[in-house]
Point group: C2
Chain length 280, copies 2
């Protein structure tokens, strides 16, 4: 276990939660003017219920430099108020060696994320620069939750190990590259068959699983097929389903309620399989 | 022809140049303290010699918010001093629908780029949000110039049209998605065979071709195989080979000299094939 996976495990154990909240600000859906104020209220209301927060950089970049300043303050607030929580920069970055190094520096050193999502389309030298620090986690976008992810990720290829889908080939490559134990995979909750197959190939890797909530993924399947044999090493993400649960002034309380509901639903699945959290 | 490809063609015709300069700031290699001052000097020295500038966002993000402010000022300076030049945001972004929309807004509306590079690993719904405005260009990262690009882009797949490499399949998909004529492809100069094959599949699309210069791609092959039948619709990019041609105070003059050398070498290949620029 890398230092990163230890931290992730601890964050889950302390909160008895596999829930990750996606912080994807959309000013049109927020009842307050400030993105930072919105995020701060969501974080304060959900602290202790969830183990991770995942700001998606797209939504901050769309707001220009003020949006990035709000992201900076949001990260600082999570760090101060909820020190154990894992902060994942959902960036899906990917570029050739020197550019990948620059992105890794930006995400881990400048922004200070604990983990990031990346895109491995460019192959090994676009991935390895992110893996250098074993205290930091790297989730490779292996099989997405969106319809288009079928276009290239599901193509059948021929390999020395026989025919397989490309996402499986990518999962196998990631296992080879993961010399420090800090590499994980993004696999959508909307594709339980693929989730099951990839978990069989990578029994111990942490999985970041988007697609429950607004995207309609099957939660029970996501928990059962996506977690490891102990019912751990999975982050079940919900973004819009939690942060926009109410468009009124009670948005933070509504978010806490939805996060709590998701934690409970996940833990019911785990408990039904005899996978209980240790008492603190 | 979309408004974007018209603008690109005009930028090349006016400068008699297929050269794109990559603006990838690395403070350790710059003889001045300010990234903006460095870029400004490079732009002023190369204006009229090159048709496009391509800042790679990784290098600005690695410098934090001050780096992004330098990028903002750099874009404004190119716009003011060299109005015809195409400004390409080398961002390699790619994410599911709503996030892709947010990235498109960030790159085209907030940053004001004329074109961007994107990553199509997530399939159709990750690409189409970028294509909405036909005055803006979108270069999909089809076959990279780096060694790792062989890992997934070159895998052999089976399709209804027979077996083919995945990069070819992506090029074919991009042609389907390109309803407005503003989609292009990134194909590396380091892989002339692939460049030739992809150009045959997409005879008219604009290609952004990295990999000459520091990465060692074959310039003559890149020009001959990468341009369209008229010797147009190709951007030959050099970043480090131009902007770090000298580490002294004469860096801007050295950059202009290298850009001029590259323009001349490209035009010699075009002329040898009878593809001359129209007189202005």
């Amino acid at each position: 276990m890398s230092r990163f996976t230890q931290r992730l495990e601890q964050a889950s154990t302390v909160t008895k939660s596999l829930v990750c909240v996606g912080l994807d600000p959309d000013p049109a859906r927020m009842p307050v003017d400030s993105v930072y104020e919105f995020n701060q209220a969501i974080v304060d209301a959900t602290a202790g219920i969830v183990c991770a927060y995942k700001p998606n950089l797209a939504f901050y970049e769309a707001l220009g430099l003020p949006g990035l300043e709000d992201l900076h303050k949001t990260i600082a607030h999570i760090r101060d108020s909820t020190p154990g929580a894992i902060i994942i920069g959902d960036a899906k970055r990917g570029d050739i060696g020197p550019s990948a190094q620059a992105y890794a520096k930006a995400l881990f050193q400048v922004w200070g994320f604990d983990a990031v999502t990346i895109n491995a389309w460019g192959g090994e030298d676009t991935v390895t620069p992110f893996l250098e620090d074993e205290t930091k986690g790297v989730f490779v976008w292996c099989r997405g939750s969106n319809p288009g992810s079928a276009d290239f990720q599901d193509v059948r290829i021929t390999t020395d190990d026989g025919p397989m889908a490309l996402y499986r080939n990518m999962a196998l490559a990631c296992q080879q590259w993961d010399t420090k134990g800090n590499l994980g995979l993004v696999v959508g909750a909307t594709v339980p068959e693929q989730l099951k197959e990839i978990r069989a190939v990578c029994p111990n890797m942490p999985f970041l699983i988007p697609g429950v909530g607004a995207q309609g993924g099957d939660l029970e399947a996501a928990v059962r097929l996506g977690s490891d044999s102990r019912g751990r090493a999975a982050l079940i993400n919900s973004s819009r389903g939690i942060i926009y649960a109410s468009s009124g002034r009670d948005f933070a309380q509504a978010a806490a309620r939805e996060a709590e509901k998701l934690r409970t639903s996940i833990n019911q699945v785990l408990e039904a399989d005899g996978k209980v959290w240790p008492s603190n």
